[in-house]
């Protein structure tokens, strides 16, 4: 089938007008019952089914997540034992990543910088966003709103493919002469423009240029995904699924999609400009009069490095909420399900998420206190940054209050979801000192900042992601993941996460800079002692905790793949949940629902008085007893 007739196929899925060309059309579908077998590659490789695409995103994302984490495990060796050869795998890695990476197992500064830049890039753009937003969003959102698929299945497929090739380009950059990008995940100019340039580098196939090209593909992917998500949520809600009956997860994905839709393009423009700077020799981000290695740089100048920072953080800050909002959505579903009572403050949650989304566009310059923007600009962004903590606190409080008085089932998803709450709390509260530029002057670019945002993203979002995987795994496969090994995965991960990131607050307050290649060995500041260890010596326990956490993921990996084939079989609704995805078969067929569901009530009708079960599905028709229960509840409020 060529591309053009592929585009036209959706037409014959509409009731054909009399005498139209339905005859001789071999692909005529009956709604929801698509029985003819597609070949393997159409079903799993270039599928247009939102569930397959979701799983593709999920597995690719998990692979990238583990790869990105491995980069950090390598860096932790250098930080704990600077200049020493990495035993066993060190020399092999030196061969694998080419000369200039780890000769004799000793890490070069350039390779350390590559690892740092690529760790950030991969974890955020190839790990968390594809899993938390694209994978869960693709798999769960259409099911939760009662849709047969996304509005634009082919665009959905293109979105995954763009992401995949973007990832390939990023990975390829490790193996070009000079290695991957070294400019940090922020790629600040003018350094990023002059990095990886010179006679030993290819003009295109060098780390930084490939980073930019990979980024253009990733941004394209997220644009296609975001359009699709928003259109799906607006257009394909089932009958009766009004806006205020949407599960909070759908709301979270809706706001996230808007952030991606509107925040990523300015970065794309910035990436295009940096690409022009590198390839066409322009000076968008290059000021006049730069001197490099003692020689004046031959370019026109007249550019502005600050412009890059503004455009980068215009994405960069909404991106933080792109990382956390899907996590909050997942946690909301799981908390309501396992406390067996309605989520507390559903409306406040929804409006808090919307306000969060809006405010996240006007706080970006709080990443730039040290650039000397001027006190008026700083005061504005300081104020908005203070304000944005209000909706975050509303959301977190609503989750905590939801726990109150519940008879909580502590299954594995719930363990991860409850762990999310204090971890996100620590991450959020430690951000407040950074919001004041006076305090930030001291803490900027120290390990304190690292600890702060990792508490939000690592034990925060990643725990939410794990919770979501354990929670929706039965829907995707029809089997449950093993509970015992889930707990073996959870407890070491929780302990190690805190052993990694809590000491970093101390290191940061000692003044340890986040980009020190020797872990602070050569610096006076890192010599000060806290609890018997100097800032530098704290690196060792942190590194050991990081490697232990790597080991703690093995139970998860085995559990995940083993359970696909051998897990305990479940029915369609193993968690006795109320939202629509649990009315579909497990795994849902192409087209999802046997009959299009109709929605009669809100998403979290747990323990409704007068019902035989403690959960009432959204698709359950109203009864007289429900009406009385709702009236009684309304009278109380």
């Amino acid at each position: 089938m060529d591309a053009s007739s592929g585009l036209a196929t959706d037409t014959h899925e509409h009731p054909p007008s009399p005498g139209s060309g339905a005859a001789g059309d071999p692909h005529h579908h009956d709604a929801g019952h698509d029985h003819h077998e597609l070949p393997f590659w159409r079903k799993y490789i270039i599928s247009t089914d939102h569930k397959v695409i979701g799983i593709q995103y999920g597995i690719t994302g998990l692979l990238f997540l583990f790869f990105g984490f491995s980069l950090m495990m390598l860096m932790r060796w250098q930080l704990a034992y600077p200049g020493q050869a990495l035993p066993v795998i060190g020399s092999w890695l030196g061969h694998f990543f080419g000369e200039g990476s780890m000769p004799d197992g000793k890490m070069t500064p350039e390779f350390y910088n590559s690892l740092g830049a690529m760790h950030g890039t991969i974890m955020i753009f190839l790990g968390i966003v594809p899993i938390a937003f694209a994978a869960f969003g693709n798999f769960v959102v259409p099911l939760q709103i009662g849709a047969p698929d996304m509005t634009f299945p082919k665009i959905n497929m293109a979105s995954y493919q763009a992401f995949f090739f973007g990832g390939i380009v990023m990975l390829t950059s490790f193996f070009v002469p000079g290695g991957a990008a070294k400019g940090g995940w922020t790629s600040y100019t003018p350094l990023a423009v002059i990095a990886d340039k010179g006679p030993t580098y290819h003009p295109i196939f060098n780390g930084q240029t490939l980073w930019l090209i990979g980024f253009i593909l990733l941004i394209t992917s997220s644009l296609l995904g975001a359009v699709n998500f928003i259109a799906t949520i607006i257009q394909l809600r089932a009958k009766g699924m009004t806006w205020m009956r949407l599960p909070f997860f759908v709301w979270a994905q809706f706001v996230t999609a808007f952030l991606l839709l509107l925040a990523f393009p300015p970065l794309e423009s910035a990436v295009v400009m940096q690409l022009m700077d590198r390839v066409a020799g322009t000076s968008f981000f290059m000021p006049s009069g730069l001197v490099i290695n003692g020689a004046p740089l031959h370019n026109s100048g007249g550019g502005s490095p600050l412009l890059w920072q503004h455009l980068f953080w215009f994405l960069g800050h909404p991106e933080v909420y792109v990382l956390i909002l899907p996590g909050m959505g997942i946690v909301a579903e799981i908390i309501a399900n396992n406390t067996r009572k309605p989520l507390w403050g559903y409306k406040s949650l929804v409006f808090a998420a919307l306000v969060l989304g809006f405010l996240s566009f006007i706080v970006w310059a709080h990443h730039m206190w040290l650039t000397g923007m001027g006190s008026v600009v700083s005061a504005f962004f300081q104020t908005t940054t203070m304000i944005i903590s209000i909706p975050s606190v509303i959301i977190l409080s609503a989750f905590f209050i939801s726990l109150w008085g519940g008879s909580i089932r502590f299954n594995v998803p719930m363990l991860f979801a409850t762990a999310f709450l204090p971890m996100f709390g620590i991450g959020g509260l430690t951000g407040i000192p950074l919001a004041f530029n006076s305090a930030d002057l001291y803490l900027h670019d120290t390990y304190y900042v690292i600890a702060h945002f990792h508490y939000i993203v690592a034990p925060g979002t990643i725990f939410a992601v794990f919770a979501g995987i354990y929670f929706w795994f039965p829907k995707a496969t029809g089997r449950r993941m093993n509970e015992f090994w889930g707990k073996v995965h959870f407890w070491p991960s929780l302990i190690c996460m805190n052993m990694i990131f809590l000491p970093m607050f101390l290191q940061g307050m000692l003044g340890m800079h986040r980009r020190w290649y020797d872990g602070g060995q050569g610096w006076q500041l890192a010599g000060e002692k806290v609890w018997g260890l100097s800032g530098f010596q704290w690196n060792t326990p942190i590194s050991i905790a990081a490697w232990t956490m790597g080991l703690a993921q093995i139970p998860f990996i085995i559990n995940f793949f083993w359970s696909i084939k051998h897990g305990e079989k479940t029915d369609d609704n193993p968690w006795e949940a109320t939202t629509l995805e649990w009315t579909a078969p497990s795994p849902p067929p192409h087209g999802n629902f046997a009959t299009t569901p109709t929605v009669y009530r809100g998403p979290y009708e747990y323990s409704l008085p007068g019902r035989e079960t403690d959960f009432t599905m959204q698709s359950e028709p109203m009864r007289e007893s429900d009406r009385k229960a709702y009236e009684a509840a309304a009278a109380v409020h």
Binding site: T151, L261, G591
Partner: protein
């Protein structure tokens, strides 16, 4: 499996899917070009006095291109309206006109406007050498009138090897009228009609030059943003032309026999994109050609 609302509108939103999709896509495009235009504003505000050039682009040609693009926006609406009235022949012709307009626009850009710039030369003079080239800059005259100084000498480069060869110590430039006759009051403001370089050739010593190049993207912040923005805009025009061609060729129009409304919807969505591309040009034209 059937995805609802691909052709007919969903009752409570009043929209069909692709229309929601294209408006969202356009919102994202606004942010993309917004980023580029904000870069333009940033760079222009930061530019040193005299470093932001004026009147280097060919205004009549730009005006013609603007008119062509606006006309094509009208014809695409006519094409859509023809489909709605089920007048396929008229649709076919209007679409052909639209596609031709897009192609002409791109042709003028790529075959005429851009190459003309690539053959133009400009040299920014060092601060301490400005006095030496006063006869070609006319800064005393400009200062008297309270105008921004000139720091660039532009024209046709007679010895292009000077750009690469370090042994060549000077540029031989046939001056642009503005440098040939800098104290002429007619030259105080940019002229909107294209005037070729004069016969007056001068030599500029490389030692006196801050930075010199052909009018390529790397020539200055102005040309960097000009080529990047018009280049990206050109890619959008190209994308529109490709989609229109698909909807115009038999491969796209065979949909008309099965479901004419669906084809009309596709044309409407593509047309919305086309209007956006047109709108971007409405910003590009004054920002680069006139201001």
């Amino acid at each position: 499996m059937e995805i609802p609302y691909t052709v007919t509108a969903r009752p409570d939103t009043g929209l069909w899917n692709a229309k929601v999709g294209i408006w969202l896509f356009l919102a994202s495009e606004v942010m993309l070009f917004g980023g580029l235009f904000s870069a333009y504003v940033f760079l222009r505000l930061d530019a040193a006095p005299g470093a932001w050039p004026h009147g280097l682009l060919n205004v009549p040609v730009g005006t013609m291109n603007t008119a062509i693009l606006i006309a094509s926006s009208v014809t695409v609406v006519m094409a859509w309206a023809s489909l709605k009235m089920r007048r396929f022949r008229a649709y076919w012709w209007y679409m052909l006109v639209t596609i031709s307009c897009g192609v002409i626009f791109l042709g003028v850009k790529l075959a005429y406007e851009w190459p003309q710039k690539f053959e133009h030369f400009g040299a920014f003079i060092k601060k301490d050498a400005l006095e030496k080239y006063e006869p070609y800059l006319g800064n005393h005259h400009l200062a008297e009138r309270g105008l921004a100084p000139r720091i660039e000498i532009s024209g046709h480069l007679h010895n292009p090897e000077a750009l690469h060869d370090e042994n060549v110590k000077e540029y031989e430039v046939a001056l642009d009228p503005v440098n040939a006759d800098p104290t002429n009051p007619n030259m105080d403001r940019p002229h909107f009609l294209y005037v070729p370089a004069t016969d007056k050739v001068v030599t500029i010593e490389k030692a006196d030059v801050e930075y010199a190049n052909m009018f390529l993207p790397k020539h200055s912040a102005y040309f960097a943003s000009y080529f990047t923005i018009t280049g990206l805009h050109g890619l959008h025009v190209l994308g529109g032309v490709i989609v229109f061609t698909y909807l115009w060729l038999p491969v796209g129009t065979k949909l008309y026999k099965r479901n004419p409304e669906h084809l009309a919807n596709r044309v409407e969505v593509a047309g919305l994109f086309w209007h956006f591309v047109d709108l971007v040009w409405i910003f590009v034209f004054p920002l680069f050609y006139l201001l």
